[in-house]
Amino acid sequence: MLWKTYRVVKTREEALEALNASRGKARVIAGGTDLIPRLKDREMEVECVVDITGIEDLRKIGMEGDCVSIGATVTHHQIVCSPLLKEKLPLLVEAAAEVGTPQVRNQGTVLGNIVNAQPAADTAVALLALGAEVNVVSEKDSRWIPLEDLYEGVGISKVKSDQQLAVEVRCPVIRKGQGYAYGRMRGRNDHWLPALNTAVVVTTKDKKFISGTIAIAPVTPRLFRAKKAEKMIKGASISEKTIAAVAQKASEEATPRDSVLRGSRKYRKEMVAILVRDVLRKAIQNIRKD
């Protein structure tokens, strides 16, 4: 923790200017629940911390067309309490409620959860299944990047903190005929890290799956979608047989590693099938009728 400068900025432009001026040695702070421990460990060389919580338009949760949009300084607790999100994106609300402890949820932000790039981040897994995109701005341009393209590796996102700022995440709302569910396996029932977590969104019509997205973590260094299982679910009838086959396929695709904290590779690979099965069953019960 050796930085010398702390800058409170009021606009995106000011934030970008502060990042550029520090030539890679600045870090953005919003909640700080991931950043502060990393700074204490001196994992990174930082000269300047840029506080973006004063930027008014990054605090919003709102609708933009058919999408819900969430600003960079919105905390997990604000997600859990939002009436709009409870109605439009209950999957994200459920995942946000699983993050950390009450203290961490009050302070930590969803965009921070994404940019911190841990593959098992609860909200990132839910947002991946929901087809989210992140708005990344620089002094030159503003781009929408699909969430699955945002991770470089464990703990490394593609947002270049010396010149870019992730300002907003958006994703389509759950529509009529769509079902969703979130599932999490862990050692004990508190803020322990997930051994596995998974989020699914299925689109259905007339007792058939039209399509489905299945996000599973942590089974690769980055965010992971079980694409072969997703292919299998397309056009299949809604039945226990389909669910069993899709869950099995997802388990074959997943490549968890042996982990002291999360469990062995063999165990977790088997558990992927169980978790995906349970979550798909729940998703069918959650199909929106209006």
Binding site: K4, V104, Q107
Partner: protein
């Protein structure tokens, strides 16, 4: 090395506080070392144990994960802000009466998490109490007496005063 200090202003236990801090100072260190309010405990210093819990804007946060400068213009409540003179807060009385305190290290954070819960939800279920203190580790009591103490206040057995 020149150490630049920044001014910070916040309301701590109802009183305005103005201090000068280095950017790297955490809110926890500011509270303990600059304000001498040592009821707030430093445990893991990583946001896991909850010993440093204080209320910021009425919500529990880990003060070890917040920079003092981030708390600019915020209202902070520490354990010292709960009693009125020698008159303990109902939660403090309940913790004593139920034997919910052993070594005492987790107690300030535990009570503040409980206060935030009861301020928002005066009649919580046992599960809601357990969820509210999920971020506060106790290695002595096994939580049973802590949960009982909090529920007794929720049940009105310890009225204020």
């Amino acid at each position: 090395m020149v150490r630049v200090k920044h001014q910070v202003r916040m309301i701590v236990n109802g009183e305005e506080v103005i201090g000068w801090v280095e950017p790297r100072r955490t809110l926890l260190d500011f509270i303990r070392e600059d304000l001498n309010l040592t009821g707030t405990k430093k445990g893991c210093d990583l946001g896991n144990c909850g010993g440093c819990t204080v209320l910021m804007g009425g919500e529990p946060i880990n003060s070890c994960l917040v920079l003092a400068l981030e708390a600019e213009d915020q209202e902070i409540v520490t354990i010292e802000g709960l009693s009125e003179g020698m008159n303990l807060h109902p939660l403090q009385k309940a913790f004593i009466q139920h034997g919910a305190v052993q070594c005492g290290y987790c107690t300030p954070g535990m009570i503040l998490s409980a206060k935030a819960l009861l301020d928002e939800n005066p009649k919580p279920t046992e599960l809601e109490v357990r969820m509210a203190i999920a971020g506060n580790l106790c290695r002595c009591t096994g939580y049973k007496k802590i949960v009982e103490a909090i529920l007794s206040v929720a049940g009105g057995k310890h009225p204020p005063g």
